[in-house]
Amino acid sequence: MPLTTVQVGRRVKLVSVEAGQGLKGRLAAMGLVSGVEIEVLRNSPPGPFLIAVKGSRIMLGRGMAHKILVA
């Protein structure tokens, strides 16, 4: 399911990122690799999305978050 559907406070695991190569690589460098645990900290449309990954806080545009598939 897309990350945008995850409720605040839930912890999920990243499955894949449906984006172009450059962007995938950039996200991977920031720690968004498959299997990594993501906690959703803020999900209040229409604002951006805030997640916790590997001890850092990363904010994503909503469109971006929609392309991140998690389980």
């Binding site: 962007l23 850092s56 971006m64």
Partner: protein, 715 residues
């Protein structure tokens, strides 16, 4: 033994790299010049253990794959300049993520020292590091530092000098970053082909090249012409996708993180997870869906207030000082001797230098505020809050701040675009910034609006002008993002660093550095343009016959029968007429007259043309020039006599067109100079000048012609 050692500082954004750089080099730093580099690398110097160290601060990056310009600059520096040692600065309280870059540096095979920065914070947060074990694992010396307290700097320099002198990895054996079986198999297929094709021979190691090619590194891929290699890369990508269910670039990143996790599990103990607790509490308030924006706007108001209100008295002092200096020279100058030199000195040079220095209080105060916002971590939150709005016009959330500053003055606003990491965003913002009405243009509106519009219409008129500017800036940004700055729009992904207390040193260096660069680089250009414009409006001087006519008129006035007050008025009138005649006779006057046919479709006459030439030096000069060409002497925006003249000479429609044209066209020379300087090329300054002038011209012609056709305000 080589005496100069080149030390490159690498690290993630927010790892405290700038603080360490400032600690190591103090004030002995400048912006390094590397060919083709538009992202700045600062350089500093330091003597340590008998060696001269040249320390280069590379841009903050998460990785070394050329995903962004910063990464490319950092990587090219490491490969082309071959620094003697690379110091990777890591945020020890967020070690795994920070080690990702370290692993890439290890793969590149550079002599490496790892600085575990903010180690005090990391300990307080319950991390325990087995440093000897980590050193063996990563094959690099590790030094613990606390940049904001200056701790560990000597140990860091010792380690850097030692590694630089003993050559790459004399202390340790380099670890092989081993990937999973599937990926290793593909690397083993690609690397020999790379070697056979002689790709990057002598520059990169074939294994490294193979990994980067698999990661779809654009910079390297575009150099690959060998069909054999291209074919193999495609096959490998398909196979990795099939076997692992993900493309090579994420699979490789995943393996690197796996390698790091393995090391950390063995050598790092984390007792509690409290890294973000305080930050999260602050964020709950400042990024609150309801209170966030009011808090942000309040802070921005404070920044604005600080910049333009507290900055006003020093600006007045500077103006007074230069006025006094000019007046003083005028007073002691021998009567009638070398008047031209006096004018050059007083009006050209002193006026020009004054025009440059006068912005300094604004710029320093503004950057003081921005440094605090940036270093505390609030800037990232501001971007978070504004992203929704700014994203709609194709800009980054951070672009909002320069836009806001633009209402005060465009020059510091352009400097403020430095907080934007992406070059396309930055250039787009810079190019449209002059459309945000600055304080100097307000003087034009303040003169024109009351001259033509009834009281009830004045405020709405001013509002309309500002809104036109904002809408054009939005449209311009959208247009630029779809044309010259097209391309994969950089999606909004950004780290929110934990809040930190900025060090006074870092804030002051940031502020001083920008102020100095402004004076040095932009200042010289602005001064040059001021002198040029002075020359244009001073040469050629009135012919002797004309000058003699005015002298005679003054003498006549002096001997005529009238009261003292009448005589003063009379002579002032003659002076004004002479100033007008001199300006008309000058090159500026001639150009203004020559431009008249081009100005006519906008409803402008040559007098407005001359004033527009002055406005290019600085927008507020428009008002003064209008005063001279209408022979009312030294006028300001409150001058009723000038307004009266304007009412006689022009229709309200022309008045409106003047405002529209001044809003859009020909940003002032300081703006163009700073844009060229900050954009890294005159191309950008000229594009801004040409683009906005054409846009302003076309729109003003349309407004004037349509207005005249419909008979609005034409009477």
């Amino acid at each position: 033994m080589k005496t100069e050692i080149v030390v490159a500082l690498a690290g993630n954004p927010n790892a405290g790299k700038t603080t360490i750089f400032n600690e190591l080099t103090g004030s002995r730093q400048h912006v390094g010049n590397y060919p083709g580099v538009t992202v700045e690398c600062k350089e500093g110097f330091r003597r340590h253990a008998g060696a001269d160290l040249r320390i280069v601060d590379l841009p903050g990056t998460y990785s070394l794959t050329a995903y962004s310009e910063e990464e490319l600059v950092a990587r090219n520096f490491l490969i082309d300049e071959k620094p003697d040692v690379v110091v990777d600065i890591l945020d020890a309280s967020n070690l795994e993520r920070n080690l990702y870059l370290a692993v890439q540096l290890i793969e590149l095979g550079v002599p490496l020292v790892l600085a575990f920065n903010m180690s005090d914070v990391a300990r307080a947060r319950g991390y325990e590091f087995d440093l000897p074990k980590l050193e063996r694992f990563f094959g690099a010396v590790i030094v613990e530092t606390t940049g904001n307290k200056g701790d560990g700097m000597t140990a860091l320099l010792d380690a850097a000098v030692r590694v630089a002198r003993s050559g790459p990895r004399a202390d340790f054996r380099a670890p092989a970053v081993v990937y999973g079986k599937v990926i290793e198999e593909e690397i083993a297929r690609i690397a020999p082909l790379v070697e056979k094709a002689g790709l990057f021979a002598g520059k990169y190691d074939p294994r490294w090249t193979a990994i980067k090619l698999l990661e779809s590194d654009r910079e390297l891929r575009k150099e690959v012409l060998s069909l054999e290699v291209i074919d193999q890369l495609e096959k490998s990508a398909v196979r990795i996708q099939k076997m692992l269910g993900e493309p090579p670039e994420t699979a490789i990143a995943g393996d690197r993180y796996g390698f790091i996790s393995g090391a950390c599990q063995e050598a790092v103990r984390s007792t509690i997870e409290i890294r973000h607790t305080t930050s999260d509490q602050i964020d709950a308030v400042v990024t609150h869906p309801v209170f966030g924006i009011p808090i942000f706007l309040g802070l921005m108001y404070l920044v604005f207030h600080l910049t333009f209100t507290i900055g006003a008295p020093p600006m007045d002092w500077i103006e007074m000082f230069f006025g006094w200096l000019g007046g003083g020279i005028g007073a002691v100058w021998p009567e009638g001797r070398a008047r031209l030199l006096q004018s050059l000195l007083v009006d050209g040079i002193i006026g020009g230098v004054g025009g440059v220095v006068v912005f300094l209080p604004n710029i320093l105060l503004l950057f003081l505020a921005i440094a605090v916002l940036e270093y505390t971590g609030y800037m990232a939150r501001a971007a978070f809050l504004m992203d929704n709005v700014m994203h709609k016009i194709g800009l980054h959330g951070k672009s909002f701040i320069p836009m806001l500053i633009g209402f005060g003055c465009t020059v510091p606003a352009i400097l403020a675009t430095r907080t934007l990491d992406n070059r396309r965003d930055r250039l787009t913002t810079m190019l449209v910034l002059p459309l945000i009405s600055c304080g100097a243009r307000l003087t034009i509106y303040a003169l024109v609006i009351p001259a033509f519009f009834p009281q009830a219409w004045q405020a709405p008129m001013l509002w309309i002008i500002y809104v036109i500017g904002i809408l054009l800036a939005v449209a311009g940004a959208k247009l630029l993002r779809r044309t010259i700055f097209k391309g994969e729009s950089v999606p909004f992904v950004m780290e929110l660093p934990p809040y930190r207390m900025p060090t006074l040193k870092a804030v002051l260096i940031y502020m001083w550095d920008l102020g100095w660069q402004y004076l040095k680089k932009a200042g010289t250009v602005i001064l040059g343009i001021s002198i040029l414009l002075w020359a244009l409006s001073s040469f050629p001087a009135l012919p002797e016959s004309e000058a003699a006519r005015f002298r005679a008129a003054r003498q006549e006035a002096a001997s005529a029968r009238m009261t003292g007050a009448e005589r003063v008025d009379w002579i002032a009138g003659i002076d004004n007429e002479e100033a007008k005649a001199a300006l008309l006779n000058s090159y500026a006057g001639r150009i203004g007259k020559g431009m008249e046919p081009a100005l006519e479709p906008m409803g402008f006459d040559w007098r407005i043309g001359i004033a527009l030439i002055g406005a290019f030096a600085a927008k507020e000069v428009f008002v003064a020039q209008m005063g001279i060409v209408h022979a009312v002497g030294e006028a300001d925006e409150e001058s009723e006599s000038l307004r009266e003249k304007l009412r006689q000479a022009y229709s309200p429609l022309v008045g409106f067109c003047v405002m529209v044209f001044c809003l859009i066209a020909a940003p002032c020379s300081a703006t163009v100079a700073v844009t060229a300087r900050e954009g890294g090329s005159w191309k950008w300054g000229l594009l801004q000048l040409g683009g906005l002038t054409s846009l302003g011209y076309v729109l003003t012609v349309i407004v004037y012609q349509v207005g005249r056709f419909l008979g609005i305000g034409a009477g």
